[in-house]
Symmetry: C2
Subunit: 234 residues, 2 copies
Amino acid sequence: MPQGLAKKQTPLDVPLHSDVHAQFGRFVASPQTTGADIIWHEGADCAALRQRLMHQYPATLWLTGLSGAGKSTIAFALEKILLERGHSCFVLDGDNLRHHLNSDLGFLAADRRENLRRAAEVAHLMNEAGLITIVALISPFANDRAMARQIVNTQRFIEVHVSTSTELCESRDTKGLYARARKGEISEFTGISSPYEKPVAPEIEINTELCSIEAAAQTLHAYLLANNFIKSNR
Amino acid sequence: MPQGLAKKQTPLDVPLHSDVHAQFGRFVASPQTTGADIIWHEGADCAALRQRLMHQYPATLWLTGLSGAGKSTIAFALEKILLERGHSCFVLDGDNLRHHLNSDLGFLAADRRENLRRAAEVAHLMNEAGLITIVALISPFANDRAMARQIVNTQRFIEVHVSTSTELCESRDTKGLYARARKGEISEFTGISSPYEKPVAPEIEINTELCSIEAAAQTLHAYLLANNFIKSNR
């Protein structure tokens, strides 16, 4: 988690219309030294420049749910909708991250938590860069998701529970992982041999048993519009 | 490092003018499983959409040099120039990363290498998202910089040696770190008690003894223009 930094909200000079999310800012900290002789470097405050350039307020949509629930598919569908409408965005997919940034991590509890921490830190960096970030990560534990919310910035964090049931995910079993988990070939498999703690108050819940992937992505797009992260005239 | 992925270059449909950098693409991989049961998810190929949206080709400027050489200051000056001209970009500053993404890492050799690896992976992700990324990191070892070049993508990697001499950096000693290193309070301090391996063939060399910070940033901006990463009419 961010540490040693005094966080300060700086209102942007081009605010969108009245909205709980209207007052954003960039984490700004005074130059200071940590115990490790690290100085915090601060550039010119570019948040306003970025906002004018990108015509949007950065946010992180954090899609949580079981393996096979549809998180990645929804994430990429939303990415396409946003890009086609001129909004800069990026998908951080949990599986893809494990090929690159998190390729050194395994699946024990500490590694899973570190996997999630890094995803949240990168989402935060991408938000600072002005992007809308879409994270698709099982993230089964409430504590870990609360950590992600803090790292990203509470005002920018949109928790999306992709609540497809274990039964349906297992019946789909697109990756064949449920079958292997049932055989005991994969340990600590979420929904089978490891718990999934359902979000108590997610900003959005999507059940792909009740709607199509396209409809799910449209729901997320509509949320961004309704909350003034993006405007409709693009 | 990226592993298990077959890289394929996909030409963009809106190429800039003739240039060695004109043929870019997004790393694309066929769905496959690694030993850890990780599936590679691929979204709609959004590289062309991003290029049209952002009017630029992503690149990573990797500023290497001694502590106090001027890397961060040049990086933030360049960021401002680019943003004012409508180019989406972001500075990944080594010290700042250590407050967040890399806050779990120390200063032993393995940790320094991991620090650099993660910076390169994030630069790669930001490039994939369409951003021009500016990394300011001492990165004293040639092997590590070669790793960064591979992770980022050779065609997008611009090594910038900020070659201010040890003598001048030490005489500036803006952070007071050289004095402490001389007293032995900081071990393995680059330039004093740990070597700095000068880049043999960096794309750009900048010596802040010979030019101002503003001129240094303008040089990098001119390089991006000359190599068609960005256009001048913005």
